[in-house]
């Protein structure tokens, strides 16, 4: 009975390959490169090492948040509290970062701890209650904002040590620390997602929770892990932001959640869970960053910038999906 299958396999396998592992991603990459080429033609200031470095620096905070939320969305969840976590962790870190108080590791650790604890709380409520993650994290988004204001007394926490400010604002061998950290985070997140059992289970939980459960996967533990991871990455973003603007702002990060989620979804993460890649998310974040930078360089009037921004983002994803269609 083997004989009958060979033909249909071959064609099935080609059609799936193009879609899944291959060109699908490149559709977005193509759209992204197209925009870059267009900008290079339109303004000579775009394609300079300095400007490209600025773009990556600017993108890095959003990209870190987007990585975290990609984990969460892959499991079929959502995290709206990342913006507030940026504020809380930033304020916490800043409170320990005044000159001549603690060594720089302390604000770092305290900030990360705050983010991990916040994320774990999200995970705990999501797994222990029947409440949809949207509501849980919308709730903790509000709570987090309040906490940041309470902790900072509603005022920016400033006067931070130089070593702390170096974390997000310095350069190593001419390369901004933010870019280095972004690359490290990207590689780590990719490894977690693609090479570890945990990553596999994320896809499983998001792809079909019942099936995951039936395979003996501890669904609750996986969810705890992704929300905690997301909290940790938000903390990293919060610390870097604080260090970059040399203040812990209680109102920092407002609205960041939408940008981060947008980067993930533009990058091909499905809102219904079960699919998504870090590379896609990174390209998504870069796309947003490049458009925003390009519009500034081209001196497009502020109001029109928003219109153009919206159109290009929809356009890029349309291009991406058209590309997938013709390949299918």
């Amino acid at each position: 009975m083997k004989n009958g299958f060979t033909t249909s396999f071959n064609q099935v396998s080609t059609s799936y390959k193009t879609r899944v592992q291959g060109i699908g991603k490149y559709g977005l990459l193509a759209a992204f490169l197209l925009i870059c080429i267009a900008l290079s033609v339109l303004t000579p200031r775009f394609l300079t090492v300095q400007n490209l470095m600025i773009i990556v620096t600017q993108v890095s905070i959003n990209a870190l948040l987007a990585f975290g939320v990609t984990f969460v969305i892959i499991t079929g969840g959502i995290d709206l509290s990342i913006g507030s976590m940026v504020a809380v962790t930033g304020v916490v870190a800043a409170s320990f970062a005044h000159p001549d108080t603690f060594p720089v590791a302390v604000p770092l650790l305290m900030g990360l701890l705050a983010g991990v604890a916040f994320g774990a709380f999200n995970g705990f409520v999501v797994t222990r209650s029947n409440v949809p993650p949207f509501i849980v994290t919308l709730g903790t988004m509000t709570i987090g904002r309040g906490l940041a204001l309470i902790l900072s007394n509603g005022r920016p926490v400033s006067n931070l040590s130089d070593s702390f400010n170096f974390i997000g604002g310095g350069k190593v061998l001419g390369v901004p620390t933010l870019i280095i950290l972004l690359i490290v985070a990207f590689i780590s997140c990719t490894i977690v997602l693609r090479k570890t059992v945990l990553g596999r289970y994320m896809y499983a939980v998001g792809g079909n929770e019942q099936a995951a459960r039936a395979s003996g996967i501890r669904v609750g533990a996986v969810k705890m892990a992704v929300y905690t991871l997301c909290g940790g990455l938000a903390a990293l973003a919060g610390i870097l932001l604080t260090s970059r603007i040399t203040t812990g702002q209680p109102n920092a990060g407002a609205g960041f959640e939408l940008d981060a989620i947008a980067a993930a979804i533009i990058g091909g993460t499905s809102t219904s869970g079960g699919s998504g890649t870090m590379t896609g998310t990174l390209i998504g974040a870069l796309l947003i960053g490049v458009i925003s930078n390009g519009l500034d360089l081209l001196n497009v009037t502020s109001y029109y910038q928003q219109v153009v921004m919206g159109i290009i983002i929809i356009g890029a994803v349309v291009l991406d999906s058209l590309h997938n269609k013709t390949n299918a």
């Binding site: 033909t7 059992v197 896809y203 499983a204 039936a214 699919s275």
Partner: protein, 507 residues
């Protein structure tokens, strides 16, 4: 408990929102036996199995596995202790590959941050599938598999766990005879090694082929356990249904077929099927037979407008039509019951009533408004006609047993009063009583002049219902048999037919 008893269940009870799905059920499984669990749709078989595997927790009762208590309610634990399960609803992760699905949860012992070795998984899965004699690529995402292929993957997953008890909940519902034979061969090997199999199926012949012992449930209650050798089909049906059943297939009444309703000429879809030509008349049943992957479903999908065709034409009542979408097809009076009832059949979050009337809703409404009472009456009547077992028209379809869900899907299409009805595996997972009802219904609609195309992997069904039978092999039409010409042997011969033109295939 005798020495070779491996699993014992006593006094098990489970209630869903006040309805008793299981009521004081018992079950004893011995090493190396094939123990069939029988019962009508909704009898509680799957519920019992889900409790065994730890997916559901019972309200009361005890489960002993190898002498120890098993009521932990933790699937991972149960799997590790040596029980595995083929799930009726094929629980798989669409985006993951065959290999990744087979070894899901068992990638490696240890923590969540352990390293994955996908190449090893793929090799292992490839070897396993090869050993089973199944040609499925281990690196293909399961979302591209046909239902039958998925079922084979489910089987591979269950047997790869080195379990001492394997639960098989309707493992063959989507399989044709050849694959069923493969499964039986595997079961034979396993039982020889002392593995116990709990086997659930609505296909009676399978039970009498492989079962050693049979336990019957009815309405959630334990009825009896008998050695299979002491049972005959009528006794078994009587135990399951609580009464005797009349003949399965209606007697053909020789009513002459009417005008040609649907004709298809040289239909093809690149790489899937080609040169398909046939016609169906009003009041006629055309059966389509073939092996798994022969392309039967693909033809149905193409006619219904779900897939594009690359050549050929479709005529309805002699007029050439172009069908681009299901709406087009429905506009031309075609109704389609998919083999994949969860994917294309019903809306799980809707009630039985809403599902039944969905395709014909315009008929039960004035302007934009639904006529509530009429809708309810129509639905209730259809529930009666199909004998749908539900707490009422407002019960959600998700909570129905598989067979009853299938009836709801058929009822939905029937209410739309199609002139041409395509049924793809219409009795998949349906108990014998319900099967008889569905055959009776098909017959009734045939008498009313509906042209029916019935795709089925169950040869008795094809033979029992069809006026003519088209056989496919590798996407090509190999013969068209009349009712008198057809027999299991002829159909199988044509289904295995290898077309010279395609040249040698395979390695």
């Amino acid at each position: 408990m005798t020495s070779d008893t491996i699993l014992q269940v006593r006094g098990l009870t489970k209630t869903f929102s006040g309805v008793k799905a299981l009521d004081d059920v018992q079950l004893t499984i011995r090493k190396g036996e094939v123990h069939a669990l029988m019962g009508e749709n909704g009898a509680g078989k799957s519920t019992l199995m889900k409790i065994l595997i730890g997916l559901l927790t019972p309200d009361s009762g005890e489960i002993l596995f190898e002498g120890n208590d098993l009521t932990t309610g933790n699937v991972g634990d149960v799997l590790k202790r040596g029980i595995s399960m083929i799930h009726q609803e094929m629980l798989m992760i669409p985006e993951l590959t065959v290999a990744q699905n087979i070894f899901l949860g068992r990638e490696r012992s240890g923590g969540l941050l352990r390293w994955l070795d996908d190449r090893r998984l793929t090799e292992k899965a490839g070897a396993l599938l090869e050993q089973m004699g199944v040609a499925i690529r281990p690196d293909m995402p399961v979302k591209y598999l046909s239902v039958a292929q998925m079922q084979m993957v489910e089987i591979a997953r269950a047997i790869s766990n080195n379990a001492s008890v394997i639960i098989m909940d309707e493992p063959t519902s989507a399989l044709a005879d050849a694959e069923v034979a493969t499964l039986f061969r595997i079961i034979g090997e396993l039982t020889r090694q002392g593995v116990a199999i709990i086997y659930i199926s609505h296909k009676m012949d399978e039970i009498f082929t492989i079962a050693d012992t049979v336990t019957v449930l009815r309405d959630g209650k334990y009825i009896a356990t008998r050695p299979a050798a002491e049972l005959d089909i009528d006794t078994l049906i009587a135990l399951m249904v609580g009464r005797k059943l009349d003949s399965l297939f209606p007697v053909p009444d020789g009513v002459p077929a009417g005008e040609v309703m649907l004709s298809v000429d040289g239909l093809g879809r690149r790489g899937v099927f080609a040169d398909i030509s046939f016609e169906v008349r009003a009041g006629e049943v055309l059966g389509i037979a073939g092996l798994m992957g022969a392309g039967r479903t693909e033809i149905a999908r193409a006619i219904f407008g779900l897939d594009r065709i690359s050549q050929g034409e479709i005529r309805i009542r002699g007029k050439r039509v172009v069908i681009h979408s299901p709406q087009d097809a429905i506009g031309h009076g075609i109704g389609y019951v998919s083999e994949d009832r969860k994917g294309w059949g019903f809306i799980p979050g809707m009630s039985v009533r809403e599902n039944l009337t969905l395709a014909s809703l315009r008929k039960w409404s004035s302007g934009p408004f639904i006529r509530d009472k009429q809708e309810r009456d129509v639905a209730t009547a259809m529930m009666g006609e199909l004998n749908v077992k539900a707490t009422g028209p407002d019960q959600l379809v998700t909570y129905l047993s598989g067979g009853n869900q299938q009836k709801v899907v058929i009822g939905n299409r029937l209410l739309a009063q199609p002139a041409i009805l395509i049924l793809d595996e219409p009795t998949r997972g349906i108990d014998i009583g319900a099967k008889a009802e569905i055959y009776r219904l098909i017959h009734q609609w045939q008498q009313r002049g509906v042209a029916i195309i019935m795709i089925s992997s169950e040869l008795p069904e094809i033979l029992g219902m069809s006026d003519r039978i088209m056989v496919l092999a590798q996407g090509k039409q190999t013969t068209m048999l009349s009712r008198h010409e057809a027999s299991q042997e002829t159909i199988m011969r044509y289904a295995m037919h290898r077309d010279r033109d395609t040249g040698p295939t395979g390695e």
